[in-house]
């Protein structure tokens, strides 16, 4: 099983990767059952007193308008994870997949695409996502986050594919008359067969950070569909007096990103 989740990692990291996937599985279960697990429906006002600290009745406390923060955090986790998955798919297709394909285009076309994506990759992804939302609407924040994360993924995939294209097996294949498209299919199959799940987890970690920061800054999720970033942003004015209003959603977000990072087999500090 470990070979499926993290084939190329050393043993300790492979164990962590499996732990990360197991954690993400639990998150997926919590997201699927969030309506059942939560005590209150999303955005139910006055479920308890205003700004009640954590207690047996309200384990995460309540916010300024008396919402049960445990229920709200579960609903927000569901919104964050769903949007993160959508954005990760966009980032993989517009970044990793396109980058890999572009490396097999005729050299001038590939280099022009690499140049264009490298220019975007020099701009922080958060800024790109903000511009994309400014140009369109907050409703497409998942798409914007995915597209903003794509340039870096494109450049990485392009460079990896270029290295594979110059490898010995590719030279032999070309010399024996294997067509370029057949070679591309072979390289793509190897790339995604061995690395698919780590790539998905890495993209998910990357876009979740972008999405939650967008929501925190007011460019992402819109009420009533609050995600974790928006919950933290909404708690910002009064979290100095009531830490739990931002503390629990932030801890949930950190755990979600941590699990995705572990699943991706990332090094400490490595940019997803």
């Amino acid at each position: 099983m470990s070979a499926i989740f993290a084939p190329s990692l050393p043993r300790p990291r492979r164990i962590l990767a499996i732990a990360g996937w197991a954690g993400l599985g639990v998150v997926a279960l919590a997201v699927t059952m969030s309506d059942f697990l939560a005590h209150a429906p999303a955005n139910e006002l006055h479920a308890g007193p205003m700004l009640a600290p954590p207690s047996a009745q309200f384990p995460f406390g309540t916010d300024l308008v008396g919402r049960d923060l445990l229920s709200e955090t579960l609903h927000a986790l569901s919104v964050t994870a769903t949007a993160g998955l959508e954005a990760a798919v966009v980032a993989i297709l517009a970044g990793g997949f396109l980058g890999y394909m572009s490396a097999h285009l005729p050299k001038p076309a590939g280099l022009v695409l690499h140049w264009a994506f490298a220019v975007f990759a020099a701009i922080p992804a958060l800024l790109l996502a903000i511009v994309l939302i400014g140009l369109t609407s907050r409703g497409i924040s998942a798409l914007a986050a995915g597209l903003a994360a794509a340039p870096l993924a494109f450049v990485r995939a392009f460079d990896r594919a270029s290295r594979a294209g110059g490898a010995r097996h590719a030279d032999y294949a070309r010399a024996t008359g294997v067509s370029a498209s057949m070679l591309l299919r072979r390289d793509l199959a190897y790339e995604f067969r061995d690395m698919f799940l780590p790539i998905v987890a890495r993209a998910f970690a990357s876009v979740t950070i972008i999405l939650s920061t967008l929501s925190f800054l007011g460019f992402g999720a819109t009420p009533p569909h609050r995600d974790l970033g928006l919950m933290i942003g909404a708690a910002w004015p009064n979290y100095l007096e009531a830490w739990w209003t931002a503390g629990f959603p932030a801890l949930t977000l950190v755990i979600l990103i941590l699990l995705a990072r572990l699943a991706a087999g990332l090094d400490e500090g490595e940019r997803p």
Binding site: W115, V119, I130, G134, F216, I232, L240, L258, E268
Partner: protein, 289 residues
């Protein structure tokens, strides 16, 4: 070296050209004709490129001030955070980065490092603001941001945002160092030098450390992107009116001319840092070889 420098200069020139085209495309959105089909947009973009060629950066649609004037007014705040961030990233990032090259220490520090790496910058900023509020009292709004403040109020104003930016850069510094040290762990020259009778410490000091630092310099562009990205959040959370804060407000108010200039400024900064880092890394690696 000359060939390498020429190739890198070409890469930088093409990169800057791309950033300029991007800025012109975004800035064109502020012109009335840009929304009249592809031809109108291209004409607007060409007119912005011509304006840039004559150093006409246009003006802010929000304040009415010249764009250059806005950037000059807000630049020092952002520059202060970036400079302080670089210092913090170097001071707190380089020693653990070098130490964590050792496998045993690295394994011991890995869980903490993974957890810290998973904290989004805005959560770290809120945590730092919380701690600063508890330790130093509420921040005084309107206190000017200084590189080296002279009083406690100034320090309490500057430390949390500078730490926010610096911690983001610190991760990038550590990764750069670690990547380089991991590739050298089983390098054949270590064994060779050992057989020649050189003690391990000397091999580390004269042959390994310069190459590890070259690895860090190689990822300077990545470090700068991390710092700039964190500056956006730090200026927003700590209410510091810098360029990054202006960027967020300009997008919200659809002031595309200012947005374009800030995008160009950030992209150019990252590209120049990447260029300088690669050249310096190449020189250091050659010297070590």
């Amino acid at each position: 070296m000359r060939v390498f420098a020429l190739r890198e200069s070409g890469r930088l020139a093409f990169g800057l050209l791309g950033a300029l085209l991007l800025a012109a495309a975004v800035s064109a959105l502020s012109l009335p004709g840009a929304h009249e089909g592809v031809q109108g947009f291209l004409a607007a973009m060409a007119s912005r490129l011509l304006a840039y060629a004559t150093f006409d950066l246009g003006s802010s649609a929000v304040s009415g001030l010249g764009a250059a004037q806005e950037l000059i007014a807000r630049g020092p705040t952002t520059l202060t955070f970036v400079l302080q961030g670089i210092v913090i990233a170097a001071v707190f990032g380089i020693p653990p980065g070098l130490l964590s090259g050792a496998a045993s220490l690295r394994n011991a520090l890995a869980p903490l490092g993974q957890f810290v790496s998973a904290v989004p910058v805005f959560c770290a900023a809120l945590l730092l603001a919380y701690v600063a509020n508890r330790l130093l009292g509420p921040a005084l709004p309107g206190t000017p941001v200084a590189l080296l403040p002279r009083d406690l109020a100034g320090w309490s104003q500057i430390v949390p945002p500078a730490l926010t930016v610096g911690l983001a850069g610190m991760s990038a510094v550590q990764v750069g160092l670690r990547r380089a040290s991991v590739t050298l762990e089983d390098a054949p020259f270590r064994q060779g030098l050992g057989r020649l009778g050189l003690p391990e410490r000397e091999i580390e000091r004269f042959f390994v450390t310069p190459v590890v630092f070259a690895g860090l310099l190689n990822s300077l562009g990545e470090v700068i992107v991390a710092l700039l990205s964190a500056t956006v959040v730090a200026e927003w959370v700590f209410h510091c009116p810098g360029i990054a804060d202006l960027f967020v407000k300009s997008v919200a108010l659809r002031d595309w001319n200012m947005v374009a200039l800030i995008l160009f400024l950030f992209a150019a900064t990252a590209m120049i840092a990447d260029f300088a880092g690669r050249i310096a890394a190449h020189a250091v690696a050659r010297e070590a070889a």
